[in-house]
Symmetry: C2
Subunit: 216 residues, 2 copies
Amino acid sequence: MTSDLPIISLGNIDEDGRSERKDAAANRKLILETAEALFAEKGVENVCMAEIAQAAGVGKGTLYRRFANKAELCLALMDTQMVEFQNRMLAEFRKMTVNRVPQMAQLEFFMDGLVHFTDAHAPLLSEVQSEGLLQERRSTEMPHFWQYMTVHGLFQTAIDAGELPQGLDTEYLADALLSPLMVDIFRFQREVRGFSLERISEGLRVLIAGLRHCVD
Amino acid sequence: MTSDLPIISLGNIDEDGRSERKDAAANRKLILETAEALFAEKGVENVCMAEIAQAAGVGKGTLYRRFANKAELCLALMDTQMVEFQNRMLAEFRKMTVNRVPQMAQLEFFMDGLVHFTDAHAPLLSEVQSEGLLQERRSTEMPHFWQYMTVHGLFQTAIDAGELPQGLDTEYLADALLSPLMVDIFRFQREVRGFSLERISEGLRVLIAGLRHCVD
DNA sequence: CAGATAAGCGGACTTGAGTCCACTTGCAAA
DNA sequence: TTTGCAAGTGGACTCAAGTCCGCTTATCTG
Protein backbone atom coordinates (compact mmCIF):
# COMPACT_ATOMS: atom_id res chain seq x y z
CA MET A 1 0.00 0.00 0.00
CA THR A 2 3.01 2.24 0.02
CA SER A 3 2.43 2.87 -3.63
CA ASP A 4 -0.35 5.36 -3.05
CA LEU A 5 1.81 7.73 -1.06
CA PRO A 6 1.56 11.17 -2.60
CA ILE A 7 4.25 13.12 -4.38
CA ILE A 8 3.90 16.80 -3.68
CA SER A 9 5.34 19.48 -5.86
CA LEU A 10 4.74 23.12 -6.64
CA GLY A 11 5.08 22.98 -10.40
CA ASN A 12 4.35 26.22 -12.18
CA ILE A 13 0.65 25.82 -12.39
CA ASP A 14 -1.49 28.51 -10.91
CA GLU A 15 -4.25 27.64 -8.47
CA ASP A 16 -6.85 28.05 -11.20
CA GLY A 17 -4.97 25.59 -13.38
CA ARG A 18 -4.06 28.50 -15.68
CA SER A 19 -0.36 28.66 -16.57
CA GLU A 20 1.79 31.79 -16.24
CA ARG A 21 2.42 34.35 -18.89
CA LYS A 22 5.77 33.85 -20.62
CA ASP A 23 7.45 36.95 -19.18
CA ALA A 24 6.26 36.01 -15.73
CA ALA A 25 7.65 32.51 -16.05
CA ALA A 26 11.00 33.92 -17.15
CA ASN A 27 11.01 36.23 -14.15
CA ARG A 28 10.21 33.41 -11.77
CA LYS A 29 13.16 31.45 -13.13
CA LEU A 30 15.39 34.52 -12.94
CA ILE A 31 14.36 35.18 -9.36
CA LEU A 32 14.93 31.61 -8.28
CA GLU A 33 18.37 31.51 -9.86
CA THR A 34 19.35 34.84 -8.40
CA ALA A 35 18.14 33.84 -4.96
CA GLU A 36 19.99 30.54 -5.12
CA ALA A 37 23.21 32.33 -6.04
CA LEU A 38 22.83 34.93 -3.29
CA PHE A 39 21.98 32.28 -0.73
CA ALA A 40 25.04 30.27 -1.70
CA GLU A 41 27.21 33.35 -1.49
CA LYS A 42 26.01 34.93 1.75
CA GLY A 43 23.93 32.33 3.54
CA VAL A 44 20.16 32.11 3.46
CA GLU A 45 19.48 34.14 6.59
CA ASN A 46 21.70 37.03 5.49
CA VAL A 47 19.81 37.79 2.31
CA CYS A 48 16.72 39.96 2.40
CA MET A 49 13.90 40.10 -0.10
CA ALA A 50 14.77 43.59 -1.35
CA GLU A 51 18.28 42.41 -2.05
CA ILE A 52 17.03 39.50 -4.11
CA ALA A 53 14.73 41.76 -6.09
CA GLN A 54 17.50 44.22 -6.77
CA ALA A 55 20.02 41.55 -7.75
CA ALA A 56 17.48 40.04 -10.11
CA GLY A 57 16.76 43.49 -11.53
CA VAL A 58 13.06 43.39 -10.74
CA GLY A 59 10.90 45.46 -8.41
CA LYS A 60 9.83 44.30 -5.00
CA GLY A 61 6.27 44.12 -6.22
CA THR A 62 7.25 41.58 -8.84
CA LEU A 63 9.13 39.47 -6.36
CA TYR A 64 6.22 39.45 -3.94
CA ARG A 65 3.75 38.68 -6.70
CA ARG A 66 5.58 35.40 -7.34
CA PHE A 67 6.47 34.54 -3.75
CA ALA A 68 4.41 35.89 -0.91
CA ASN A 69 7.41 35.78 1.41
CA LYS A 70 10.86 34.34 1.88
CA ALA A 71 9.40 31.10 3.19
CA GLU A 72 7.55 30.49 -0.03
CA LEU A 73 10.58 31.36 -2.10
CA CYS A 74 12.70 28.92 -0.14
CA LEU A 75 10.04 26.26 -0.47
CA ALA A 76 10.15 26.68 -4.23
CA LEU A 77 13.93 26.33 -4.16
CA MET A 78 13.66 23.05 -2.26
CA ASP A 79 10.96 21.69 -4.49
CA THR A 80 13.17 19.69 -6.83
CA GLN A 81 15.14 18.14 -4.04
CA MET A 82 12.03 17.30 -2.09
CA VAL A 83 10.50 15.48 -5.03
CA GLU A 84 13.77 13.68 -5.63
CA PHE A 85 13.89 12.56 -2.02
CA GLN A 86 10.30 11.39 -2.13
CA ASN A 87 10.95 9.40 -5.28
CA ARG A 88 14.04 7.83 -3.85
CA MET A 89 12.09 6.80 -0.79
CA LEU A 90 9.18 5.42 -2.78
CA ALA A 91 11.55 3.36 -4.89
CA GLU A 92 13.17 1.96 -1.76
CA PHE A 93 9.81 1.18 -0.21
CA ARG A 94 8.84 -0.78 -3.28
CA LYS A 95 12.08 -2.71 -3.27
CA MET A 96 11.84 -3.43 0.44
CA THR A 97 8.23 -4.52 0.22
CA VAL A 98 9.13 -6.97 -2.53
CA ASN A 99 11.85 -8.32 -0.27
CA ARG A 100 9.41 -8.73 2.60
CA VAL A 101 11.12 -6.11 4.72
CA PRO A 102 8.75 -5.27 7.60
CA GLN A 103 6.93 -1.93 7.47
CA MET A 104 8.49 -0.81 10.72
CA ALA A 105 11.94 -1.34 9.31
CA GLN A 106 10.86 0.73 6.33
CA LEU A 107 9.76 3.44 8.73
CA GLU A 108 13.14 3.40 10.40
CA PHE A 109 14.75 3.69 7.01
CA PHE A 110 12.55 6.65 6.13
CA MET A 111 13.23 8.45 9.38
CA ASP A 112 16.93 7.94 8.95
CA GLY A 113 16.75 9.40 5.45
CA LEU A 114 14.73 12.28 6.79
CA VAL A 115 17.34 13.04 9.42
CA HIS A 116 19.92 13.39 6.69
CA PHE A 117 17.57 15.37 4.47
CA THR A 118 16.74 17.76 7.29
CA ASP A 119 20.37 18.24 8.11
CA ALA A 120 21.32 18.90 4.50
CA HIS A 121 18.58 21.49 4.04
CA ALA A 122 18.45 23.01 7.50
CA PRO A 123 18.97 26.64 6.44
CA LEU A 124 16.24 26.61 3.80
CA LEU A 125 13.95 24.61 6.07
CA SER A 126 14.41 27.21 8.80
CA GLU A 127 12.99 29.83 6.51
CA VAL A 128 10.23 27.57 5.28
CA GLN A 129 9.15 26.68 8.79
CA SER A 130 9.45 30.22 10.11
CA GLU A 131 6.14 30.73 8.34
CA GLY A 132 4.70 28.31 10.87
CA LEU A 133 2.50 25.25 10.50
CA LEU A 134 -0.59 27.29 11.19
CA GLN A 135 -0.83 29.19 7.92
CA GLU A 136 -3.50 27.51 5.86
CA ARG A 137 -1.90 28.74 2.65
CA ARG A 138 0.08 26.10 0.85
CA SER A 139 -0.17 23.70 3.75
CA THR A 140 -0.20 20.72 1.42
CA GLU A 141 3.08 21.86 -0.06
CA MET A 142 4.83 22.10 3.27
CA PRO A 143 7.44 19.44 3.95
CA HIS A 144 5.54 18.37 7.04
CA PHE A 145 2.59 17.39 4.91
CA TRP A 146 4.20 14.67 2.85
CA GLN A 147 6.34 13.56 5.74
CA TYR A 148 3.20 13.11 7.77
CA MET A 149 1.42 11.27 4.97
CA THR A 150 4.34 8.92 4.60
CA VAL A 151 4.77 8.13 8.28
CA HIS A 152 1.06 7.81 8.78
CA GLY A 153 0.78 5.51 5.78
CA LEU A 154 3.58 3.30 7.06
CA PHE A 155 1.95 3.08 10.49
CA GLN A 156 -1.36 2.06 8.97
CA THR A 157 0.22 -0.55 6.77
CA ALA A 158 2.18 -1.86 9.74
CA ILE A 159 -1.03 -2.27 11.69
CA ASP A 160 -2.71 -4.01 8.76
CA ALA A 161 0.29 -6.32 8.54
CA GLY A 162 0.04 -7.10 12.24
CA GLU A 163 3.40 -5.52 13.01
CA LEU A 164 1.78 -3.01 15.33
CA PRO A 165 -1.14 -3.49 17.71
CA GLN A 166 -4.52 -2.19 16.62
CA GLY A 167 -5.88 0.86 18.33
CA LEU A 168 -2.76 3.00 18.14
CA ASP A 169 -3.47 6.64 17.44
CA THR A 170 -1.52 6.73 14.20
CA GLU A 171 -2.48 10.31 13.45
CA TYR A 172 -1.09 11.56 16.70
CA LEU A 173 1.95 9.33 16.58
CA ALA A 174 2.90 10.43 13.08
CA ASP A 175 2.94 14.06 14.14
CA ALA A 176 4.74 13.29 17.37
CA LEU A 177 7.41 11.18 15.75
CA LEU A 178 8.11 13.90 13.21
CA SER A 179 8.19 16.74 15.69
CA PRO A 180 11.80 16.27 16.80
CA LEU A 181 12.65 16.84 13.14
CA MET A 182 11.12 20.28 12.99
CA VAL A 183 14.07 22.51 12.22
CA ASP A 184 14.06 24.54 15.42
CA ILE A 185 14.42 21.49 17.56
CA PHE A 186 16.64 19.66 15.13
CA ARG A 187 19.11 22.52 14.91
CA PHE A 188 19.02 22.93 18.66
CA GLN A 189 19.97 19.29 19.07
CA ARG A 190 22.66 19.52 16.45
CA GLU A 191 24.17 22.89 17.34
CA VAL A 192 23.58 23.30 21.06
CA ARG A 193 23.39 19.73 22.31
CA GLY A 194 25.95 18.62 19.76
CA PHE A 195 24.13 15.42 18.81
CA SER A 196 25.40 13.54 15.76
CA LEU A 197 23.07 12.44 12.97
CA GLU A 198 23.62 8.84 14.05
CA ARG A 199 22.62 9.63 17.60
CA ILE A 200 19.42 11.31 16.46
CA SER A 201 18.55 8.43 14.13
CA GLU A 202 19.20 5.93 16.89
CA GLY A 203 17.02 7.89 19.30
CA LEU A 204 14.15 7.88 16.84
CA ARG A 205 14.67 4.19 16.23
CA VAL A 206 14.23 3.55 19.94
CA LEU A 207 11.00 5.53 20.02
CA ILE A 208 9.68 3.61 17.05
CA ALA A 209 10.73 0.27 18.44
CA GLY A 210 8.82 0.97 21.63
CA LEU A 211 5.53 1.22 19.81
CA ARG A 212 5.60 -2.45 18.93
CA HIS A 213 4.96 -3.48 22.50
CA CYS A 214 2.91 -1.02 24.37
CA VAL A 215 -0.78 -0.83 24.01
CA ASP A 216 -2.71 -1.64 27.15
CA MET B 1 16.16 12.15 43.59
CA THR B 2 13.40 14.30 42.29
CA SER B 3 14.17 16.77 45.04
CA ASP B 4 17.15 18.27 43.24
CA LEU B 5 15.15 19.34 40.22
CA PRO B 6 15.75 23.02 39.62
CA ILE B 7 13.32 25.86 39.98
CA ILE B 8 13.98 28.49 37.39
CA SER B 9 12.86 32.05 37.73
CA LEU B 10 13.81 35.45 36.42
CA GLY B 11 13.52 37.42 39.64
CA ASN B 12 14.56 40.99 39.39
CA ILE B 13 18.22 40.46 39.92
CA ASP B 14 20.55 41.72 37.27
CA GLU B 15 23.13 39.39 35.73
CA ASP B 16 25.83 40.96 37.91
CA GLY B 17 23.81 40.23 41.03
CA ARG B 18 23.23 43.98 41.40
CA SER B 19 19.61 44.95 41.97
CA GLU B 20 17.78 47.58 39.93
CA ARG B 21 17.49 51.23 40.77
CA LYS B 22 14.16 52.08 42.37
CA ASP B 23 12.78 54.06 39.41
CA ALA B 24 13.76 51.28 37.06
CA ALA B 25 12.03 48.66 39.19
CA ALA B 26 8.89 50.78 39.23
CA ASN B 27 9.03 51.07 35.46
CA ARG B 28 9.48 47.33 35.02
CA LYS B 29 6.41 46.74 37.12
CA LEU B 30 4.47 49.41 35.22
CA ILE B 31 5.48 47.90 31.90
CA LEU B 32 4.52 44.38 32.92
CA GLU B 33 1.13 45.51 34.19
CA THR B 34 0.46 47.57 31.09
CA ALA B 35 1.47 44.73 28.81
CA GLU B 36 -0.69 42.27 30.68
CA ALA B 37 -3.69 44.57 30.37
CA LEU B 38 -3.12 45.20 26.66
CA PHE B 39 -2.61 41.50 25.99
CA ALA B 40 -5.82 40.67 27.79
CA GLU B 41 -7.69 43.33 25.87
CA LYS B 42 -6.40 42.77 22.33
CA GLY B 43 -4.64 39.42 22.31
CA VAL B 44 -0.92 38.91 22.63
CA GLU B 45 -0.14 38.83 18.94
CA ASN B 46 -2.02 42.05 18.21
CA VAL B 47 0.01 44.23 20.51
CA CYS B 48 3.30 45.70 19.34
CA MET B 49 6.19 46.89 21.47
CA ALA B 50 5.71 50.56 20.59
CA GLU B 51 2.11 50.29 21.70
CA ILE B 52 3.12 48.88 25.05
CA ALA B 53 5.68 51.63 25.54
CA GLN B 54 3.17 54.31 24.67
CA ALA B 55 0.43 52.88 26.87
CA ALA B 56 2.85 52.64 29.75
CA GLY B 57 3.94 56.22 29.07
CA VAL B 58 7.60 55.36 28.60
CA GLY B 59 9.90 55.59 25.60
CA LYS B 60 10.79 52.64 23.42
CA GLY B 61 14.35 52.80 24.68
CA THR B 62 13.18 52.23 28.22
CA LEU B 63 11.03 49.31 27.24
CA TYR B 64 13.86 47.68 25.32
CA ARG B 65 16.33 48.26 28.14
CA ARG B 66 14.17 46.11 30.39
CA PHE B 67 13.11 43.53 27.82
CA ALA B 68 15.23 42.90 24.78
CA ASN B 69 12.18 41.86 22.79
CA LYS B 70 8.61 40.73 23.04
CA ALA B 71 9.70 37.18 23.78
CA GLU B 72 11.56 38.24 26.88
CA LEU B 73 8.68 40.39 28.03
CA CYS B 74 6.28 37.50 27.64
CA LEU B 75 8.67 35.20 29.44
CA ALA B 76 8.69 37.62 32.36
CA LEU B 77 4.90 37.64 32.37
CA MET B 78 4.80 33.85 32.57
CA ASP B 79 7.41 33.69 35.25
CA THR B 80 5.10 33.50 38.23
CA GLN B 81 2.91 30.87 36.69
CA MET B 82 5.88 28.82 35.61
CA VAL B 83 7.29 28.76 39.10
CA GLU B 84 3.90 27.89 40.47
CA PHE B 85 3.58 25.01 38.05
CA GLN B 86 7.03 23.75 38.89
CA ASN B 87 6.30 23.88 42.59
CA ARG B 88 3.04 22.07 42.17
CA MET B 89 4.80 19.36 40.22
CA LEU B 90 7.64 19.04 42.71
CA ALA B 91 5.13 18.69 45.53
CA GLU B 92 3.31 15.98 43.62
CA PHE B 93 6.54 14.17 42.86
CA ARG B 94 7.43 14.13 46.52
CA LYS B 95 4.02 12.83 47.47
CA MET B 96 4.08 10.17 44.76
CA THR B 97 7.58 9.06 45.63
CA VAL B 98 6.53 8.60 49.24
CA ASN B 99 3.63 6.49 48.02
CA ARG B 100 5.95 4.36 45.91
CA VAL B 101 4.43 5.54 42.64
CA PRO B 102 6.78 4.43 39.86
CA GLN B 103 8.92 7.12 38.20
CA MET B 104 7.38 6.43 34.83
CA ALA B 105 3.92 7.08 36.20
CA GLN B 106 5.25 10.32 37.60
CA LEU B 107 6.56 11.16 34.14
CA GLU B 108 3.15 10.53 32.66
CA PHE B 109 1.66 12.77 35.30
CA PHE B 110 4.16 15.51 34.49
CA MET B 111 3.56 15.30 30.76
CA ASP B 112 -0.17 15.47 31.29
CA GLY B 113 0.27 18.56 33.43
CA LEU B 114 2.50 20.05 30.79
CA VAL B 115 -0.11 19.48 28.11
CA HIS B 116 -2.57 21.53 30.13
CA PHE B 117 0.02 24.16 30.98
CA THR B 118 0.99 24.54 27.34
CA ASP B 119 -2.60 24.83 26.29
CA ALA B 120 -3.38 27.45 28.91
CA HIS B 121 -0.39 29.60 27.97
CA ALA B 122 -0.22 28.96 24.25
CA PRO B 123 -0.35 32.62 23.15
CA LEU B 124 2.43 33.76 25.47
CA LEU B 125 4.45 30.64 24.72
CA SER B 126 4.17 31.36 21.01
CA GLU B 127 5.91 34.66 21.54
CA VAL B 128 8.47 33.17 23.89
CA GLN B 129 9.36 30.43 21.48
CA SER B 130 9.38 32.68 18.43
CA GLU B 131 12.76 33.74 19.75
CA GLY B 132 13.90 30.22 18.98
CA LEU B 133 15.80 27.66 20.99
CA LEU B 134 19.05 28.68 19.38
CA GLN B 135 19.55 32.01 21.08
CA GLU B 136 22.12 31.50 23.82
CA ARG B 137 20.71 34.43 25.76
CA ARG B 138 18.55 33.40 28.67
CA SER B 139 18.49 29.80 27.55
CA THR B 140 18.32 28.60 31.14
CA GLU B 141 15.18 30.65 31.67
CA MET B 142 13.38 29.20 28.69
CA PRO B 143 10.51 26.86 29.48
CA HIS B 144 12.20 24.11 27.53
CA PHE B 145 15.13 24.18 29.94
CA TRP B 146 13.31 23.18 33.10
CA GLN B 147 10.98 20.89 31.21
CA TYR B 148 14.03 19.12 29.86
CA MET B 149 15.70 18.96 33.26
CA THR B 150 12.57 17.46 34.77
CA VAL B 151 11.98 14.84 32.10
CA HIS B 152 15.63 13.95 31.95
CA GLY B 153 15.78 13.65 35.74
CA LEU B 154 12.76 11.38 35.79
CA PHE B 155 14.25 9.16 33.08
CA GLN B 156 17.49 8.84 35.00
CA THR B 157 15.73 8.01 38.22
CA ALA B 158 13.58 5.49 36.40
CA ILE B 159 16.69 3.79 35.08
CA ASP B 160 18.28 3.77 38.52
CA ALA B 161 15.09 2.26 39.89
CA GLY B 162 15.15 -0.44 37.22
CA GLU B 163 11.93 0.77 35.61
CA LEU B 164 13.73 1.45 32.35
CA PRO B 165 16.49 -0.54 30.72
CA GLN B 166 20.01 0.84 31.00
CA GLY B 167 21.62 2.31 27.94
CA LEU B 168 18.71 4.49 26.86
CA ASP B 169 19.79 7.84 25.48
CA THR B 170 17.95 9.85 28.08
CA GLU B 171 19.26 13.16 26.79
CA TYR B 172 17.89 12.55 23.35
CA LEU B 173 14.67 11.06 24.58
CA ALA B 174 13.91 13.97 26.90
CA ASP B 175 14.20 16.42 24.00
CA ALA B 176 12.24 14.17 21.68
CA LEU B 177 9.42 13.57 24.12
CA LEU B 178 9.06 17.29 24.73
CA SER B 179 9.18 18.30 21.11
CA PRO B 180 5.50 17.64 20.33
CA LEU B 181 4.82 20.20 23.07
CA MET B 182 6.70 22.99 21.35
CA VAL B 183 3.98 25.55 20.71
CA ASP B 184 4.09 25.50 16.91
CA ILE B 185 3.39 21.83 16.78
CA PHE B 186 1.08 21.84 19.74
CA ARG B 187 -1.10 24.58 18.30
CA PHE B 188 -1.07 22.87 14.93
CA GLN B 189 -2.39 19.71 16.55
CA ARG B 190 -4.97 21.59 18.54
CA GLU B 191 -6.17 24.04 15.92
CA VAL B 192 -5.66 22.30 12.60
CA ARG B 193 -5.84 18.63 13.49
CA GLY B 194 -8.41 19.34 16.17
CA PHE B 195 -6.89 17.01 18.76
CA SER B 196 -8.24 17.23 22.29
CA LEU B 197 -5.96 17.60 25.30
CA GLU B 198 -6.86 14.07 26.33
CA ARG B 199 -5.90 12.69 22.96
CA ILE B 200 -2.52 14.42 23.10
CA SER B 201 -1.87 13.21 26.63
CA GLU B 202 -2.81 9.69 25.68
CA GLY B 203 -0.53 9.79 22.65
CA LEU B 204 2.38 10.86 24.81
CA ARG B 205 1.54 8.16 27.31
CA VAL B 206 1.82 5.56 24.57
CA LEU B 207 5.21 6.87 23.51
CA ILE B 208 6.44 6.78 27.09
CA ALA B 209 5.03 3.31 27.72
CA GLY B 210 6.92 1.99 24.71
CA LEU B 211 10.27 2.90 26.18
CA ARG B 212 9.89 0.31 28.90
CA HIS B 213 10.28 -2.55 26.50
CA CYS B 214 12.56 -1.72 23.66
CA VAL B 215 16.25 -1.68 24.02
CA ASP B 216 18.03 -4.32 21.99
C1' DC C 1 -4.41 43.81 -37.28
C1' DA C 2 -6.80 46.47 -33.55
C1' DG C 3 -8.68 46.92 -29.22
C1' DA C 4 -9.85 45.11 -24.78
C1' DT C 5 -8.26 43.41 -20.62
C1' DA C 6 -6.31 40.62 -17.30
C1' DA C 7 -1.79 39.70 -15.91
C1' DG C 8 2.46 41.58 -14.86
C1' DC C 9 5.54 45.23 -13.17
C1' DG C 10 8.09 48.62 -10.20
C1' DG C 11 8.91 51.42 -6.63
C1' DA C 12 6.95 54.53 -3.14
C1' DC C 13 4.77 53.86 1.14
C1' DT C 14 3.40 51.87 5.70
C1' DT C 15 4.39 49.29 9.69
C1' DG C 16 6.86 47.17 13.40
C1' DA C 17 11.34 45.69 15.31
C1' DG C 18 15.20 47.00 17.33
C1' DT C 19 19.43 50.41 17.87
C1' DC C 20 21.64 54.63 19.15
C1' DC C 21 22.79 58.42 21.63
C1' DA C 22 22.35 62.79 23.91
C1' DC C 23 20.12 64.04 28.02
C1' DT C 24 18.54 63.17 33.00
C1' DT C 25 18.48 61.24 37.63
C1' DG C 26 19.19 58.22 41.70
C1' DC C 27 22.65 57.13 44.84
C1' DA C 28 26.74 56.88 47.40
C1' DA C 29 31.21 58.63 48.74
C1' DA C 30 33.57 62.68 50.33
C1' DT D 1 25.21 68.89 50.94
C1' DT D 2 27.69 68.53 46.94
C1' DT D 3 29.22 66.03 43.28
C1' DG D 4 30.71 62.08 40.06
C1' DC D 5 28.89 58.85 37.32
C1' DA D 6 26.65 54.61 36.33
C1' DA D 7 22.10 53.60 35.39
C1' DG D 8 18.06 55.01 33.37
C1' DT D 9 15.23 57.49 29.80
C1' DG D 10 12.94 59.02 25.39
C1' DG D 11 12.44 59.33 20.90
C1' DA D 12 14.61 59.82 16.37
C1' DC D 13 16.61 56.67 13.28
C1' DT D 14 17.72 52.40 10.50
C1' DC D 15 16.38 48.30 8.43
C1' DA D 16 13.55 44.66 6.51
C1' DA D 17 8.85 42.99 5.53
C1' DG D 18 5.09 43.42 3.07
C1' DT D 19 1.19 46.37 0.72
C1' DC D 20 -0.64 49.46 -2.76
C1' DC D 21 -1.56 51.37 -6.94
C1' DG D 22 -0.79 53.61 -11.37
C1' DC D 23 1.55 52.23 -15.51
C1' DT D 24 2.90 48.57 -19.12
C1' DT D 25 2.41 44.50 -21.96
C1' DA D 26 1.20 39.71 -23.50
C1' DT D 27 -2.38 37.42 -25.22
C1' DC D 28 -6.96 36.60 -26.78
C1' DT D 29 -11.02 37.84 -29.78
C1' DG D 30 -13.20 39.69 -33.56
